[in-house]
Amino acid sequence: MIINSLLMWFLQDLLQVFLRGWMLIPDFMLMFVCYKSITSNYGLSRMIWIAFVGGLCWDLRWAGILGLNALAYTVALILSFWFWNLMPKSGRTPVILTAVMLMGHLTVTVFRLIILGVPSHYLLYQVVLQQSYAVVLSIIFGFVFYKRGEKGNAPQA
């Protein structure tokens, strides 16, 4: 899990380097960790620290404010896990998973906007675009969930 998360972080970083100035990359790594935390039996405690360290590394590389993404990723992961486990087993459908994933990403976006504010209209436009890419990614995660037949296999809190 740690290796996979590290690869996801690196993929996110490479894409951000490649597309810097053209678009903001959605938080792949966070979405991957959220997906794994709600669909696998890997311990939540470990997932929390994976999300925290991933966010901290992102802070160091891109944000320049330690703790911003570390905190946002942790909050998003906990919220996603909590919402997923609020659902009865029969309600844990791919559509709900998509919504939970998107909510996790939106949490991070809103958190960043609250802390950093909106420095320019152009950046706000980029943030909105980033969120729309996250919608596509959430749908893909939902589809993967559907294809793997993981409905109902998620661990209960």
Partner: protein, 258 residues
Amino acid sequence: MFRQLNFAIVHGTIALLLGVTLLLSSANTNLTQRLSDFSERALRLPEFPAFTARRIVAKAVFWFDQGLNLKEELEVLRDENVKLKVLLAARQGDVKLGESDMLTAEITLRRPEDWWEKFRINKGSKEGIRPGFAVLNNGFLVGRVYKVSAHQAWVRLLTGLEMMVPAVVSETRDLGVVAGDGKGSLRLLYIPSESPVASGMNIETALVNEYLPAGLPIGTVGGVLEEKDGYSVFVVKSKAQLSRMYQVQIYIPSGGEK
């Protein structure tokens, strides 16, 4: 199950507290900046393929999508640059512009909370950059280098609250100071109210030192913002793309290079 949940709650709480502590204690500290610079250096090698791919794609986009228009624009800018250099050389006998050079650098970090204050570029002392060098975008002054390491440097923006640059209105030779408001706008201060300075006139740097020579374009005069104690404050319209700046040019004066 409950034990596992309690365990997760403890870990979650510790992570959240640690995150809040880091967030509150690290903003704008030198340590954060150093760690951030270090992470960029450490990842330079693994990120190299992405940088290379980006460069190739950017070139392809340049040549195939906008090639002709951009080439024409480049020619116009080149001509304008030559004219400016000639003009500067004529005005500043002591600044040998023929021996000066422009170095293009990419912006690698522009933090949202310091959006109008400063940014980091990917060129440093090894490339000949020194503190105090003028930084231009689109041919207009946008800031000055204030901190340099081997392969990167920090630039303080003209729009920030900490930067003030002596300036002259080209048409009337009135001297004033250009300063930022910290919100992305520029102002021309200390112009006497009776001065004939009017909207549309050109503003350029007045001589500060050899690193920031006279005659570098800053922008044009906009409307009067306020009049107080016999002096007017004017809005300055910069033609630099302050909100969409990905690259800047560093003015390297003669003798400034390594």
